[in-house]
Symmetry: D4
Subunit: 208 residues, 8 copies
């Protein structure tokens, strides 16, 4: 029912053989295919049957396309603090691109180094939707929420240790954000954030 | 920075006297004012100074306006299961209306009585954004996510008892939704859902 | 005291040698034997002594029989969402079969793709007992509970990540089901669900 | 879809006025009506319109009937430890009776006084389904599970203090029961246990 | 062993009569006395015997002094977001003052309104120690930590609802702060933060 | 201060080299030495220097003695359900023996097979102190507590899966035991239970 | 089976009328009766029928005796930190006395004021069993465990706020004590500690 | 903004290649570099480019310096219980030294062996700031807090098992310390404690 989007395989917990078969069937039915949480092994298996498959290493994403992705006028901004959150940020950014969105990345703008964030804030304000990714204390969406007027999809990451409890600290912080306009997806769910952001961005394209 | 929105007071934990003063100052500065989690006592205090104040009882909202709310072409759908979630649903619906949105309410459409939901599904599909409210097992956003193409803001409610743990069951269910396009706000946070939905709806109005 | 049921070994945390000995003793005393959570190594060890042992790979079950399983008239329906829950679903289905029940499998009927579920609903309604298996938001038993009149044993699975907390999200959702007629077993406990379903199914066979 | 059962109102969190109206509408449509978690105030309001309404105080249940309840041949046994769990036990027992079941109560048979339980065990064994209710360490369903051959629906209660965490100790104990044939409902959910037990008992009546 | 500090009574959970007696004994032994979490009732009881007792209403503190408080050169900055955290902020500020410190209050500087915080940042930088108080997402200490060079004592507050879990969200956020130089005290423990800040401030006074 | 007891090394998290050195120093100072949570590697290292070292494999204990253990008249009973709890049960039993106690083992007496427990109950009653070890629902100490008059030290084990949460279910069950005379040690802490039981047993030896 | 002990009523959650009847029946059967968690209302009701009933206010205990309590030679030491833990400490101390033990109270000896504890340590060492009661960080049993040779029953209390989580902090601290010879009962369970201590003390009296 | 401190790399979760590049860039810009949570592999990679890099094995720290560290007059005391907490203690101690502080180590002074702690207490009192490190029941900061007048930074460690829940027991104990002057950092965060302690120590150096 959501047209123009690729079909998606969650590769986590599937064998390379399973992914290969599912991807092949989807592709030969004319769909574009997107595999998330894909390892090198998954990719190797898929490439045996589908030579044009592409692997985004940091994002852990496999893409196989029948149709070239469109490019929206509206921009999805992917904002993240540091190198530790990169895998999740790239899962979000690459997913959004493969769903036809124009994406801008703003990395290394954590709240503990506020000036780097403020230096970019004008550019971030021009984005139609923002994906804000942060681990540990998860403060980035709140600070952004006070500075921009676009809807923000917040992604807590499991980066950290100790009382981080595998992402719980960032998750709770984001759900309790004192800034408005912030909604939240599951810990490490870059894909889900990109999907929601994509639906929102398309509202602006089409005027719906 | 977010124009056309009223200024908001969270009345919970404030005295009637405090709310009255804050509301008065905002209003005389030309703002529209919206008070959430407001009791009758809060309202009585505010009305002493501001006669045109209006109280939405089920929604627990006070509104005082300098400017009449606009009406968007795009619709925000507020979908909820039963009478128990009504307070949260109305907090979302009234907030969205006071922020200038056209709102449609779809109540009594819980997933345990699927036919009532399916009967309304065409109408729900026409909404540009959907706010899905559910307590207990929190399944409504997931079922909706598989049936509609609009972005969904999910609101878990604290309705329930025992292993509900004051809304934790619905919160976790929504964060783990196997449907895509769902993002989540805090337990019972009808206001926050309406705010995010409102930002998204405006993208469609303006084409941004 | 529960006649006609095989004796059961929980192989998890036991060495192949231990399982082999326990199985051998049970079998030579005339019992049918069922080993759950069995690895290939467990099976290899058992087969050394008991050649007729059978291994159900996906279900991780070893079966060694003195007597052929009966077949009930009443059907246990095993309903599950996707490939990720397959191991748990098969543990339930194979256990139920080895306890003498007629079993029907309904896989790939998750609530986010409601039409596949509705397509099968008449067939599911004919089952005397239903085992409903779901991970993540665990909504399947609730949706089923509103559509069928048979008792439902719900099995939360640990499939997922992040705020899934190893099955907690599905467990809480199922315990808080707003549909009636749903009771719940431990996370990933396909065996336990089959056992309860089997006791219930036999009530119908025998009229008790 | 589940015939012969009364319509149910969960009175908790509803005003007396709301309950009165819902009950009246259900009753005049020809349904039998069952109100759970009902206070004296709920009952007083209902009786104003419906004189034949009956109030079960310990069970906190209101019943208004158009048709007399049937009596099954099969027995539902309600087994509980002590006076503290009485409210939940009676919610289960009265609900089961009002759903047309023959019910036998076995109270004051906690596992710390094993002999009282063993004295009753033959009688308990004759029940077709067993509802086992326990707070604190929640051991009763496990001990019963080893002694009887009927399916057991376990109800954890919130009775206790400290590391009981409002019923969590009993809930976890029951989910982890080392006896087979035990499935679990929400903390304090006597109604839900009776509903499941009732569906199971009817399988035996009808042969289905 | 910590000279120059008043003796402290934690009034929470003590009767007015108990507090009155303890305070009287301490005072007549020559100590200055500080009562925290004191209600009006506590104060009334104490004033019966000790006329010079002073009550700080918002801070819920009783003070009775034999010696006038000193005033340090170094400043303790008490930084807080909004009116909801005022009780905790004042507990910290008044405690610090009564322990002989010069205190500056910076209220209404939450991270969702960054400009108000940045407007004050030069003044905050001049403080020798900072107490940062925040509820909900608890981001304030992290943002401050990136902007100032003084040690920060962070106080999570229980302000909020839902997934705030009575202060857990702010507590975890602060423990996981990605800024360095932040240490944390118990939820709502304004007193404890002031005590630690006071020990630190005195190091600067005395050169130790 | 506790005479006649060996010195103890907790080997978990120490290297073989570290354990070897600590053990050697203790031993040559005339102490008896007990190493818990010891792997084969720890034992091999210790034996290089101390030839008379003995390894208890199931118990994961190393013992090196200067003096032969005494034997008390009073008996410590170690009661456990099944093979899965064996490692913890043996840690308790061997520790108690090496501290000079007469120990009787009662294994395979879980509460789901009550008759095996009742068959042994007279013998268990003769023990001066009882260590009761159970995982999963942790019901054993409660059932025992109703049948015997000796103090019981309960040891929850981490045996189980899913809602067992690594021993939490058994721990909470034991802390909430409705039987009196039960106190609890940490999850899997067979050593600690034996130590406490040993102190108690010695009271009876010496009359103190 | 545990002779010489009174029969016990847990009054919490029972009506005065219920307690009165239970107490009367026990007493006229010749038992001594002990009611814990008893309010003034419980006591008033009991005294109507049983004039010799005695109420221990701080301990919240009702006692009615047919036989005078014995006095053991061995001493149970009840050690507690401060006035806040008094109710739990007295529940333990009075229970122990009514079970025939000689009890010594050591109050106001918290670990943050170590010297008061060390001043009493010789006297504490003479106790045959020690009950150690502490809230908040629950350190007292660990410090004691390093200083004395008697078995210690640790009682965590729910005294505190914030990250105390109603006694969880003290409970976990005590379960993880790095001192040996410590076992733990439920939060605030002074009664249970006294019961276990009493069983242990009697071993020394009788030589068993 | 915090001058004289090295730049810090958290190596956990970074590849050796990443650490090598980051370190090289920092160093050639004139900074001193400190890498925490560094493995041997990280060090090997760094040493390829930066020969003067030094590895502190127990502390898991890499240091590369352009400028020699200063030595403060004021002392930071690092106090820890046993060998298990050594890695965290050394992370704190080495970090503090590399930030220019004079550090004294007090190891093997756990609260269960109070005399070793009391033997050192005069020396500990002379420290300007204290870092107190403890796992399990986390009592050390509380006991120290009652004995010394300096501010204490408490570090809970994840050392332990079972109900330790990966450091939660020590964390909660420290947050609930009944001693004043204690503030807390994340579980195992020796670095963070050293950083805060260092800021405090410098207040005394400079008089600020
Ligand atoms: N990283 C991800 N996290 C959560 N859900 C995902 C992710 N990637 C894909 N999905 C969802 O998983 C579905 C495919 O699951 P499957 O059929 O198991 O391959 C897609 O339709 C998405 O809704
Ligand atoms: N004690 C109870 N606990 C949980 N669910 C209940 C209980 N009593 C009634 N219900 C359910 O609540 C439904 C009625 O809810 P409502 O429409 O809000 O009155 C019934 O159909 C039952 O499924
Ligand atoms: N708000 C507070 N939170 C935590 N501890 C406090 C607070 N106020 C006082 N205290 C501590 O409580 C002690 C007095 O407790 P008490 O003897 O029970 O009155 C003081 O020495 C302080 O260490
Ligand atoms: N299995 C165990 N669990 C808990 N504590 C133990 C265990 N084994 C030994 N201990 C304690 O650990 C202490 C030795 O610790 P360490 O000095 O780190 O080797 C002993 O004195 C015991 O109190
Ligand atoms: Mg961040
Ligand atoms: Mg729902
Ligand atoms: Mg599902
Ligand atoms: Mg029980
Ligand atoms: Mg904040
Ligand atoms: Mg057991
Ligand atoms: Mg204490
Ligand atoms: Mg310690």
């Amino acid at each position: 029912i959501r047209k123009g989007f690729p079909e998606v395989i969650f590769c986590g917990g599937k064998t390379p053989q399973q992914v290969k078969e599912i991807a092949f069937n989807m592709y030969k039915n004319g769909s574009d295919v997107l595999g998330t949480r894909a390892s090198h092994e998954h990719f190797e298996a898929v490439r045996e049957l589908l030579e044009k498959a592409v692997y985004y290493e940091t994002a852990r994403i496999i893409s196989i396309r029948n149709t070239p992705p469109r490019k929206t006028k509206g921009i999805i901004g992917v904002v993240a603090a540091g190198t530790s959150d990169l895998a999740v940020a790239e899962e979000a950014a690459v997913t959004a691109e493969l769903m036809g969105n124009t994406v801008k990345r703003f990395y290394d703008v954590g709240v503990a180094g506020l000036h780097r964030l403020l230096d970019k804030i004008e550019e971030i304000r021009e984005c139609r939707v923002i994906i804000a990714i942060a681990g540990m204390e998860g403060a980035l969406p709140t600070v952004l929420g006070g500075l921009v007027g676009s809807p923000i999809i917040a992604v807590p990451t499991s980066v950290g240790y100790g009382a981080n409890f595998h992402g719980l600290s960032a998750l709770l912080a984001m759900l309790n954000s004192c800034a408005s306009g912030v909604s939240v997806v599951n810990i490490d769910n870059g894909f889900g954030a990109a999907y929601s952001a994509s639906l929102i961005n398309k509202i602006g394209e089409e005027g719906k």
